[in-house]
Symmetry: D2
């Protein structure tokens, strides 16, 4: 019960072939510590079984690459698309999302066998330059599911009163230093270029690049910590209606919310089981409602996604903010993905913005089934920026737009405060 964290090193090469292979291998490595049963259960409709992630990412390659572009390719199993299509209406009917946890068959080993066959078959297509954009999309898609696999299995194991760990060992060492004073990145105001600049891969929702007028503001140089959140609780934050959005207050009362997800006493549940909580580490697993209430309590506010990106790009200097490989996200080096007291914009947790998830000017989804990728989710959700400890290295960028509903909190979500200046 609880194995070694994955020991795959993905960053060693950067050809498309190497990255494809490393991505496929990492998914399997992440699932390796799980039993057949761990990999099958589904804790809620929002989450999917680990097995399903293994299969769905393979369905994606088989469907949009092999089936559509490799002449003579025959589907591994004609019944499986019904099981492993996620939400692509153009690809036909599929099992209800809430019933994914009923798939005790096929087994993990059957799916891994399929994975191998699909990975192998991709060798015929990997060097076709015309397919490079679609292959880049497939890699990015599988990286997203690597993060979901980790957050979903964490939620599943948390349902078990025994609190089983996925990985042995303890958390990475965490700082015992008190939280530093917050310093501020300031932005003098002006027109910022927002959205992906076309160099390297990006999802369609990150563009088109466009101008946004931003007023002077400052963004905290660090995340809100567990210790600070504890002070919010101690001050009655969860019982003071004046701090909350109306929908948030209804949610707090209907669900009986009084702390972040996974908190209990001085501990929190992690991939390594129940652990003492580090007051200096960033708070995670909060909803948008909680993030907003905290900001109100602190007399500050959440940044817009444009403000966040303006700082992340360091755009007034023209320099792209580096994502330091020695810090932040450690997923692909297989250190247990627990939050540490980082100050980086990327790698500890996704950061809520106050921006609704909406299309950029002149945005248009691509045609065909993959066009369902992002655009159709543009209602009711909020944008998060950055990356989390469960995001694979290379999957984060300044223009990346993550999005969730305001009540969801099973991702590694936290907050970075902003203020007007």
């Amino acid at each position: 019960m609880g194995g070694e964290p994955a020991r795959i090193v993905t960053g060693t090469g950067n050809t498309l072939t190497q990255r494809f292979a490393a991505t496929r291998a990492l998914t399997e490595a992440l699932a390796a510590p799980l039993s057949e049963a761990d990999a099958t259960i589904q804790s809620m409709e929002d989450a999917s079984p680990a097995k399903w992630h293994l299969a769905h990412t393979t369905w994606f390659w088989e469907t949009f690459l092999l089936r559509d572009h490799l002449p003579g390719y025959r589907l591994w199993n004609d019944d499986w698309p019904f099981l492993f299509n996620s939400y692509y209406e153009a690809e036909g009917a599929r099992i209800a999302r809430a019933r994914r946890g009923m798939l005790s068959r096929p087994t993990v080993s059957e799916i891994v066998e399929w994975r191998g066959a699909v990975t192998d078959a991709m060798a015929h297509l990997i060097d076709d330059p015309a397919l490079t954009p679609l292959i880049e999309l497939g890699i990015a898609h599988e990286q997203q599911h690597q993060e979901l696999l980790l957050t979903d299995i964490k939620h599943a194991l948390f349902q078990n009163p025994l609190g089983p760990p996925m990985w042995d060992g303890r958390d990475a060492a965490t700082t015992s230093a008190a939280s530093a004073e917050t310093a501020w990145h300031s932005f003098p105001g002006g027109i910022a270029m927002i959205g992906h600049d076309g160099r390297g891969f990006a999802f369609d929702n990150e563009g088109p690049r466009h101008r946004v007028l931003i007023e002077p503001f400052a963004l905290a140089d660090r995340l809100v910590t567990n210790g600070e959140w504890q002070a919010f609780i101690a001050d009655g934050g969860y019982r003071n209606a004046a701090l909350w959005l109306s929908d948030g207050w209804a949610w707090v009362n209907a669900e009986g919310i009084d702390a972040p997800l996974y908190w209990q006493g001085d501990q929190h549940f992690t991939h390594c089981g129940w652990q003492d909580r580090d007051p200096a580490a960033p708070v995670t697993h909060i909803s948008y409602y909680e993030a907003d209430a905290y900001a109100t309590w602190a007399g500050l506010r959440l940044p817009t996604e444009f403000e966040w990106e303006a700082i992340a790009r360091g755009q007034h200097t023209g320099a792209e903010l580096a994502h330091d490989p020695a810090a932040g996200n450690q997923l692909d080096r297989a250190v247990p993905p627990l939050p540490r007291g980082g100050t980086d914009l990327f790698g500890d947790c996704w950061q809520f913005t106050r921006s609704g998830y909406l299309p950029y000017p002149r945005f248009a989804p691509v045609t065909g089934a993959v066009g369902e990728y992002n655009g159709k989710f543009m209602s009711g959700q909020v944008v998060l920026r950055g990356a989390s400890c469960a995001t694979v290295r290379g999957h984060s960028r300044a223009s990346y737009r993550n999005f969730f509903y305001p009540h969801q909190r099973w991702q590694f979500t936290g907050l970075r405060l902003a203020k007007d200046i």
Copy 2:
């Protein structure tokens, strides 16, 4: 069953005293055709009984003006604030929203008696310049509830298989002309000033006035019509997943939606009962999901709220767009508020934008209970602009931000298309 529409003329004077009196009188006039039972029933949690609107608007004056500012004022009935507070957490506990329809007592006449007493007592405060902003807020608040009273009672009467009319008579004459070709208001792009300019009353959410960078676009000079919507239906619009936002498609299927609210065959339900639908009149009672799907079907899009306001202000010319009192909204002249084929930006129906309802830069709610007015609703909703046939004259302006959840459609909601240029 069904009386004369209200014959109150509100626009004759423009002193605060006159406007206060006219507003109070209009609310009562709107409720006059209703029986005690009509005024009591509640058709859904979103809607409130007409009686409740009569009372709640009075509670607002009594609480925030008389109680707080008139020395020695005694509440009319100590138990009533529990019944008629809407959502002001700072004002204490209150009856659950979904139970407002259980209030067979107090009676309409008891509430009207209370209304009279509160209206009279306001005479002591109406001339106090320090209270003018609060009184303006109270008038605007009551005007909002006048519109809600009309949309809520329409929904309530619609529940009745008999389809009872609220008003006798037929619709206002409607154009039999075919829909005109759409012409386009174009905007060349640039920085627009968005938000209320401080002249006259506005809600807090309309400010602060600030700069927004807008790319070149064009806005249709007229609303989408019933006839055009019928073509969308005939083309399978409600059965084609590719046109819909993901949440919208789920809503269509869960609720079995296949037409705007109130449509049946060639008729629709109105305040005058079931009437033939005019193909040239603007479509109303659609959800955001439907508006977005239609725009996708048409190869166009919804405007942002900033685009809408930029046109509405005519700000590139510097001239405020006039709200022609001879056209558009007729509520306060008591013509049955049925849509006609207007081309005005104001007065036929609220127009969905693709903007989430979010705070403007440097927005801060006012302190105290009235600060709960707008800011706490800034999550999960979309902005609508313009005004409807049920909006009282004088209650519409270019900076006005209305907001509803994406599935709601019991308001007079329609759409005006936009496109990039």
Copy 3:
């Protein structure tokens, strides 16, 4: 708010014509104190508006007597059967039960006008001996709705935080004497004849009369009182799982039940508003689950319906137990129907038995729509015997079988204990 209780005296004559007229008049008298709004609201799906009871009982006469048996009779309004059919599948579609509270139209006076016309038209049929059984059924049906009208309006008024009374005045004088020691009616065992003996009217579910073998037992000569129930509460009765049926314990926890319906502190809600509770009066408004838990707590049990009837008939002596018109049920003499400390088997409250509501041997529903009257409800419900303070005089008999689901408690339900001997 709150009028005089009805002053109709129904018992003065006993011809069918007299009884029909008195029944029709009593329904109207019971509704007389209600405002149009009181008579329209519906507090839950189980309950119906008072107005609906006025109309439904009229629909019954119009449908099964006038329409089916009076040549040339034209329906008063062709649309109304859709509104006022309760559950007769053979009579076609009807408004959803939960939407009965949406019927602000027709008005009470329109319904009363219809009532008068139907009552008058019945003069053509009242003397037809072939119709006597159907007319007796119609009278009994309307008497049932008289009781429902009272229990439903009580529940509706209870929703109002103001606690409005339906009737002025206070409760009938209640005994201040301590509860008497319980004495026991004993039955030596043997074969009892159960079911209606064919003399006078009975519902189909009261027959066929048949033999039941009963073991020796005893039945308490009085009902459990409020004071005794208070002792059950004080002893932790609502918190001790061991006392409860499994479904009952789930219900207690899901609904947060800790006292009978309508109890608050030392008061309870009545048709005369909030009143002090008399410890010596029978407890009412309890569910089957509560009755069973109490009996377990007391070391006793509920009777079967056969045991109850065996005592009620006094059949071992051959004498029918009298229903003393000077005591018990006072509804038709219009005294506010509040429980008093009676010891009669009839007239204070319905008494739970442990018998499921099932068909007697050789039971068969009558053919036609009225055959839906009782038989189709024979699953999931329990039998109650006796009568309540809200039951009209003449509507109770030893063979009468009332039935409700085990969680329901808005009727005047109480309990009388039994034991083996």
Copy 4:
């Protein structure tokens, strides 16, 4: 995917030790074909994972025998009672029933290891005569869970669109003969002795033995078949409200029921996957509502549980009806438990009676936690008699009372008709 059916032969010995060992072994044999994932998933709140059945039956022995009666016994794992207590309130808190499917840990092999240890430890108690009744109860309890394990895993595998079989091979040979004409067991009427006579083990709810007066009736000598059910469907049985109980009609419409569970076209889902349906085999997997509607359609009725037992006992002759080991239930000889066209009272399917599940006269639960075994479920359920193809041999008797809610149908439930004579 799909293994050999269990090859355990349980009937070879009849000492308590032998029966205990055989029972323990059979449970494990039944679960043997299941993967770790098969054994973990839970398809609905009514059903439990196979793993949970393995563990819960062990918890029963550990708790009520080893813990309570073996000096010095230490629980195998102090955390597991929280996981594997089913509903015994006296044994403390436990995981919510609907969350049993979240237990990916402990693993099946960990539970089997625990099973072995508990089975071994029982050797210290098995010969203690004072414990024999409790051990008999434990065996009967585990036999019940053997049946549930089979019906629950059938339901779980059915959720999978692939329709995976649990067992290889085809159904047992089924008769191709047309259904025989129904013959009738008749009973002349009189007083029957109902309930267990004290010889051998019985559950508490089967007693006390008592007299019941039964009128003359006849019971069909065979079960209703698939072919007859198909005729009911073809005749519009599921669309004719007149045939249904009111609750049943609501259920049919709310759930969209139009056939027995597991039917699709001419096939039905079995433990051997999808198979052609034999028209001559007994219909199974129907609800009480369906059974009652069918009987009404057929102009007959369901028997009472007393009638059924009177025939099963053959008590008017004094001879106990034999349960032929060469026919009927084959579970313990590990033939796939599919219905065949048997005519026995036991062994094909449980047979609905029209009797509510209620206590017999003078019934009292035993004291202590095991007293929660049966009595607390005596509300809202109906009695089924007989046994099914999934019932272990030796677990059926004429006095056995099974019980389910009227809408449940995942058990092997069928019907045998009755009529008055």
